[in-house]
Amino acid sequence: MKPTEAQIWDWLDQVPDPEIPVISVVDLGIVRDVAWQDDTLEVAVTPTYSGCPATSVISMDIETALRDRGVEQIRIRTQIAPPWTTDWLSDKGRAKLEAYGIAPPSPAGGPEKCPHCGSADVVRVSQFGSTPCKAHWRCNACLEPFDYFKCI
C-alpha cells in the first residue's frame, strides 16, 4: 500500500537541512509539493539560493530518506518559480533557529535581537555569512558574533 501524502510530509520533516541540521527541509520551506503520479512519488523542491551547494545534497537526502522507508520510485523535480522566500520558513523552524544561535529572518532587514543574550543592541558585520542564506552580525551587549538568516 502506498504511504499517504501526509505520511510523506511527516517523513520529510525528519530530514535535516545539511547546513543547519536543527531544522528540517520542510521547516526550511523548500519542499513545495508531494504527489503520487501512479506509482512514482514526485517531490517538488525549490532551491534557496541558485548557487547553494546544499541543493544537490538535499535532493539526495530526500531520496535516501524515502527509499529507506520503502518508497521505490521517486522523482525529484526542481521548481524555481515562484522563488523561495524566507516567508516559507515554518514557525517551528524559526524557533529552532533562534535556540540554535541563528537569528531568524525579519522583514526589518536585520535581526530583532541577539540570539544569545536577547539584547537589541546588534550591529551588522557583513551582508554575507558562512552560507549563502546567512549574514554576519555581532551583539554589542554580550560581544558575541552570530549568524542572521537573511530575509529574502
Binding site: 548557487g51 524555481i80 522563488p83 554575507f128 558562512s130
Partner: protein, 253 residues
C-alpha cells in the same frame, strides 16, 4: 536569424555574463583583504555561477542540439562567448574588483527587474529568482564603492583610477542589435538601451556619495556581447576555468 536563434544568443549573453564574472570573482577566494570580504566575494561568485546554470541550461534547451549548460560553459572557446567586456576584465586590486562589480550589479539589477515581467515564463522565473540575490550584490558593492571612494586619500585615488579604467566598458551593456530587437518584439526581454537612463541616474547618485567623478566621455569599447572581439583577458581566463576539460576531455566525477 530565427526567433529561437536570437533567443539562444540572448540567453548566452545572460549566462556568459554571470559565468565569466562569477569566475573572476571566485579568483579572490582565499585572497581577499579580510575574511568577511573573502566570504562575501565567494558567496557572490556562487550566486552568479548558480544563475549561470539556469541561463545556460535554458540556452541549451532552446538550442535543442543535445548540449548541456556544462558543455556550453566548458567546451566553447573565447569566440563563442557572449559576455560583455566588463565582466572579463582582470580583478586588479580589491577596489577595482568592487568598482567592476558595482558597475555590473547596477545594470544587472535593472535588467533582471525588467526580465521578471518577460513573456517567457522560464525567463521570468529565472529573473525573479536571481533578482533577489542581485539586490544583495548591489547593496554591498554600492556600499563598498561609497566607503572606499569617500575614504582615505589613498582609497579615493584608487577608486577614481578604477572608475576611469572601467567606465569605457559601461556603454556596451546598453547596446542594441538585431538580437535585442527580436527579443523586444517577442516581449521576452527589454531593449538594453531603455535601461540606460535609470542606470545613469543611479550611477550619478552613487558616485556623488562616493566623491568620485564620472568621466565625461561616453566612449565605449564593445565586441563582447556580439562575440566580435573579446579582450585578450578572456582567453587567459578560460585556460584556467576550462583547464580540466582541456587536459582530460570528457572527464566526469
Amino acid at each position: 536569424m530565427t526567433r529561437d536563434e536570437a533567443f539562444f544568443e540572448f540567453l548566452c549573453r545572460m549566462g556568459d555574463n554571470t559565468l565569466v564574472l562569477g569566475h573572476r570573482v571566485s579568483e579572490w577566494c582565499g585572497h581577499a583583504p579580510v575574511l568577511e570580504e573573502d566570504i562575501a566575494l565567494a558567496n557572490t561568485a556562487l550566486d552568479l555561477i548558480g544563475q549561470t546554470q539556469m541561463w545556460l541550461g535554458l540556452a541549451a534547451e532552446i538550442e535543442g542540439d543535445g548540449r548541456s549548460a556544462d558543455d556550453l560553459a566548458m567546451l566553447r572557446d573565447a569566440w563563442d562567448f557572449r559576455n560583455v567586456l566588463l565582466a572579463e576584465q582582470p580583478n586588479g586590486d580589491f577596489g577595482q574588483t568592487m568598482m567592476r562589480q558595482y558597475l555590473f550589479d547596477q545594470y544587472h539589477l535593472l535588467m533582471l527587474q525588467a526580465l521578471a515581467g518577460s513573456s517567457d515564463e522560464r525567463v521570468a522565473g529565472i529573473a525573479a529568482k536571481s533578482v533577489k540575490e542581485v539586490a544583495y550584490h548591489v547593496e554591498r558593492s554600492r556600499d563598498t564603492v561609497v566607503g572606499l571612494g569617500d575614504g582615505t586619500s589613498e582609497s579615493h585615488r584608487r577608486m577614481q583610477a578604477a572608475l576611469d579604467l572601467l567606465y569605457p566598458y559601461v556603454g556596451e551593456m546598453f547596446e542594441s542589435d538585431a538580437v535585442d530587437a527580436a527579443m523586444e518584439e517577442a516581449g521576452i526581454a527589454p531593449d538594453p538601451a531603455s535601461l540606460r537612463d535609470a542606470y545613469d541616474a543611479a550611477l550619478t547618485q552613487t558616485m556623488a556619495e562616493a566623491t568620485l567623478t564620472l568621466p565625461d566621455s561616453r566612449f565605449a569599447h564593445s565586441g563582447g556581447r556580439t562575440g566580435f572581439r573579446h579582450t585578450e583577458h578572456l582567453g587567459h581566463m578560460l585556460t584556467q576555468m576550462q583547464w580540466l576539460q582541456r587536459a582530460y576531455p570528457g572527464a566526469t566525477w
